[in-house]
Subunit: 130 residues, 2 copies
DNA sequence: ATATCAGTTTAGAATGATTCTAATGTATTG
DNA sequence: CAATACATTAGAATCATTCTAAACTGATAT
């Protein structure tokens, strides 16, 4: 991402110091899965003194603007994904780690959705053993 | 379930008053998705004075014995499923409701799992729009 | 039956992720 | 550069869940 400030403005987000730092980290071209906690740790490493409250606010602001996806992986914390394309995941419970599946997969044999309901999207989570 | 006490004993669970009540409710032949909260509400309706702590304990005990499945649906609470067969779900965020998909589905185009990892199971969650 | 003891239940405290509050700070607009 | 709308923050509050430790109960041996 060359011009983060411009990028934030384009998404109706004021380019504050904190948002610039966080956006620079998140949108550096490498897709990431973060939680408030892991992001906080990264920011601590780079000595950006950003409060936890701001980290939560920013993740949600980015999510509201569609810059992040929320993942429903487990009930212990919320995962945010910088890859907002439709895609699937491997999940290793042991490592508490997610890996993107970027190839196209097809699900066949799907039954009709209940009356008056339409399918929005299909998410496949492939659990790994070890 | 005719003999709940026997059923509990078979699963190395002492048939206490509370467990019998909860098992009777959960394993009445109709598959259910419950959270500690929804289960607590049901039990309140039937005036079973069972503490929340016991509800949590019991759900986990049943889970440990493989009588319930844990579902990772959202990050707000833990869902338990009385259907322990491998199956998939429709999920309506709006209704906060899960519907079992009991037909066989196939996922094709799956990439190889990462080195030294083996696929344990594949979970498909079909998000509904409305 | 009864005593014993391991396994259970429970109220209430503790925890941990997240959200809220309200005071202070800062980007934007005119 | 003043005004103001939006952001940040520390710390309190919230909420689901887990823990603690005391009281209780089902199973087993006597």
């Amino acid at each position: 991402m060359k011009d983060i400030k411009h990028f934030l403005r384009q998404n109706s987000l004021r380019p504050t110091k904190q948002r610039v730092i966080i956006a620079n980290y998140l949108f550096d071209g490498i897709n990431k899965h973060v939680t408030a906690e892991t992001l906080s740790n990264e920011l601590l490493k780079m000595k950006a003194g950003i409060s936890l409250a701001t980290i939560y606010n920013t993740l949600h602001d980015f999510y509201e603007k569609g810059l992040l996806k929320k993942l429903m992986i487990n009930s212990e914390r919320i995962y945010f994904d910088t890859n907002t394309e439709h895609h699937h995941h491997f999940y290793s419970k042991k490592d508490q780690k997610l890996i993107d599946i970027n190839v196209d997969m097809k699900v066949s044999g799907l039954p009709k959705p209940p009356k008056n309901k339409k399918i929005n999207k299909i998410e496949v989570l492939v659990h790994l053993d070890n």
